[in-house]
Every structure is written in structure tokens, then in C-alpha cells.
Symmetry: C2
Subunit: 122 residues, 2 copies
């Protein structure tokens, strides 16, 4: 696989990460995502990691970094679908993903984004 | 990777296929999808293949089969995000995916499903 697809749904973008992000793939994803945020004027980004059963500190760092850079592009990122074992691993690695909003699944992530964005807009 | 995530968005399911479906993965996806359709009472299924740059006749057959079985479970499947090269390959393979609705991207797929499902419901 060369690229992780970024799917536009209404005014949000959805990324479903199903493979380990090695260096180049992570850099490409971040670049593609920022270009897509600019192109589509997306206000929200959902990153689904329900397909991942294992994460390492690199992956945690990438999630953190993507959230920060999309924030600078005026988009809010929500990480959704985290498996229980992944949550445990991240905390054991000392990464509590502070400042990153999480939701149980895509549906709940969308709900939160809608509320959050309507709150920001008002 | 063990499984392809199936994401619920409103009353639809979204599957983003990013890897070649070898035999067992394809069977698992089909089973998981049918279970999820039953669980969530989803009326629409979107299969995004924008991450695929190559398809073979097996993949074409799987897409066809998934569409047919979800139809029996009262859900409508739309294949979205097909790359131009993939469309050419499928036709060259003699698979025009007759009976499968396609859309350019997820957004347009959702639009079509909404119109189609409201038409069916009325």
C-alpha cells in the first residue's frame, strides 16, 4: 500500500489507520491530511484506529503530532475506536494523549465534533 | 492486520479496503459485515476502494458477492472511490460490476444512499 485514504464526509475528514505507520507512511499521511484540510476546508478530522491491536510510542507520537498540526490548520482531531489493549499500552508507555479528544467509535466521534464545532461557531 | 474495520456512521456502514483481500480476509470481511448489518440494522453499506491501485478478478468477485449478500440482508451497497486504472482493469477483466452502484467518493456515495433509501422507504 502506498497511501492511507483520507475520506471526506460532509465537512469532516475520516482516516482509517489499519497498518503500522512506518516513518515515510506517517509523514505522507500527515502531509496528505494537511493538504486535504486546506482543499476541503474541513473543520474536523476523525482518525479511526479500531483496526490496530498494537501500538508503539512512535504511533502515539504521530497521533499526537497530527492532532497538533491540524489544530494549527483550524481543524479539530478526534481519535476514535481505540481498543482497550491499545489504551493500556499507551498509558504504560507514559503517553496519556493529553489534549487529544477520543471517542469510542466513529459515530460518537462525529456527534462530539458536531457539538464541539457548533459550539465554536456560535 | 487481522480484520478490516467496519465503521458505523448514522444508519450506514463504511468499509475502507486498503489491502489486497486474500481468501481468509475476504471471507472474514463478508461475515463481519453481515453480522454488523444485523447488529446495527444498517440500511446502507459503503465500500471505499480508493486505497487500491490494483485489483484482480478475485477482488472484483468479492465486491460482487458482498453486494449480493448484503442485498439479501436488506442493505444497499455502494462501491466508492474507484481509481481510473482500477475501473479500466475491471472492464478488461470482463467485470463491469453490473448491478453494483458506484460513486466517485464517500460523500457522493452517502448522498446517493440517502436519496435511494428515502425513495425505498416512501
Amino acid at each position: 500500500m502506498e497511501k492511507i485514504p483520507i475520506l471526506k464526509i460532509n465537512d469532516c475528514l475520516l482516516v482509517s489507520i489499519q497498518v503500522d505507520l512506518y516513518d515515510q507512511l506517517a509523514i505522507d499521511l500527515q502531509n496528505d491530511l494537511l493538504i486535504k484540510v486546506k482543499e476541503t476546508k474541513a473543520k474536523g478530522v476523525l482518525i479511526d484506529i479500531s483496526g490496530l491491536t498494537i501500538v508503539d510510542s512512535f504511533m502515539g507520537h504521530i497521533l499526537y503530532q497530527i492532532t497538533k498540526v491540524t489544530r494549527l490548520m483550524d481543524a479539530t482531531t478526534v481519535v476514535v475506536g481505540m481498543q482497550p489493549a491499545v489504551a493500556i499500552t499507551l498509558v504504560e508507555l507514559g503517553m496519556d494523549l493529553a489534549g487529544i479528544h477520543t471517542a469510542l467509535n466513529v459515530d460518537k466521534g462525529f456527534q462530539w465534533l458536531r457539538q464541539h464545532l457548533s459550539g465554536v461557531g456560535s
